[in-house]
Symmetry: C2
Subunit: 220 residues, 2 copies
């Protein structure tokens, strides 16, 4: 038991570690961080990926506007600083869920590289996968299921990512899916293949023999 | 797909539900909310309960000062409004984890009934268990591993729960353990027995045949 930071808070050594969970589950708790323009298909792809992972026996869980913006982050506005705080909290929650052994699928526009880098930095190497849902602005704008691009063009909606606010494309995403060229199943399959190759879905072999902490140095 | 609240946020029907997770796991995702005076043994008991549940094949996960105050809630002070916001966010995160199929063990002083009631209200009936870690003030003050009671008595630490700030005892806790009379193993055993009786650890039988949503009306 050691005390750090505020003297009101005590640090307890956990009796169950992330590596313990990985070994028993047979897969690793990781964060899949989906990023992309509005209407690029992040949430649809996130839910389909969750289902496919569940069908393979993994516990996957989607974080998106539905369970975050109306709940944990309902106190936040869409101001620049609150958008940043929104992504900061999501990064922390994703890290907690992965620590609990879950394959977390966070699906948010998250337009800024710095914010995504901050979310990544919370996780051990090999525990965070940036998934760029790449889609041309033209296609996103054609889809526009909520009419938001149209409102952004007329100025009715301000600071809309891709139109009147920047989207910083990932430069080093682990996975890139092209949602305007590939079908949904193909995108899911590509994500799952990558996770297989990186040993995420076969943690029992990798974690074997490690007493307390997960294996390091898997890149990321 | 329906839109609610802000028009920027779309609601997606999940393809994997809490009931799906419960059925496969064989236990229910629930929140165990530990409350009690400082030094009443909440965190020690929380970690031991997590370990015992893990050893029974359940995925349990502790939320406490260690992984919350230094991380998600590091922007919060110990002012009254920030303490309230601290508990609000913990309630939301606990609910998310339970939705993901985990037996969440939240261990915080959480001195106010209203704050605990708010955390409870986020969960379906039968998904939230208040666990009162009952311990006389005298015993807590004798233990005082961090010397905080002493500092509270001299006034060096202000607004200290039990001394210079109120602790509102639970009136309707599902589980009461007396950490000044019962041993650690006895307390854990009592908690697990209660979860068994309430069907938390045998969700496969209870959830059977329910297509989308968990069973209701279990009290709580």
């Amino acid at each position: 038991m050691k005390i750090r930071g505020s003297t009101n808070i005590t640090w307890h050594r956990p009796l169950v570690t992330q590596a313990d969970r990985d070994r028993r589950n047979g897969y690793k708790g990781v964060v899949l961080w989906f990023t992309g323009l509005p209407s690029s298909g992040k949430s649809t792809l996130a839910h389909q990926t969750e289902r496919s992972l569940f069908d393979r026996g993994c516990n996957a869980y989607v974080l998106d506007g539905d369970n975050i913006r109306h709940r944990l982050n309902k106190d936040l506005s869409f101001s620049p600083e609150d958008r940043k705080e929104n992504i900061r909290r999501i990064g922390e929650v994703a890290n907690l869920l992965a620590d609990a052994g879950i394959i977390v699928i966070a699906a948010f526009i998250s337009p800024y590289r710095a914010d995504r880098a901050q979310a990544r930095a919370l996780n051990d190497p090999g525990r965070f996968f940036e998934v760029y849902c790449k889609c041309s602005l033209e296609t996103c704008e054609e889809r526009d299921p909520k009419g938001l691009y149209r409102k952004a063009r007329t100025g009715e909606v301000k600071e809309f990512t891709g139109i009147s606010a920047p989207y910083e494309e990932p430069e080093d995403a682990e996975i890139v899916v092209e949602t305007d060229r590939q079908g949904l199943e193909e995108c899911v399959s590509e994500i799952l293949s990558h996770l297989e190759e990186r040993g995420v879905l076969t943690a029992s072999a990798e974690g074997r023999g490690l007493p307390r902490k997960s294996s390091k140095g898997q890149g990321g």
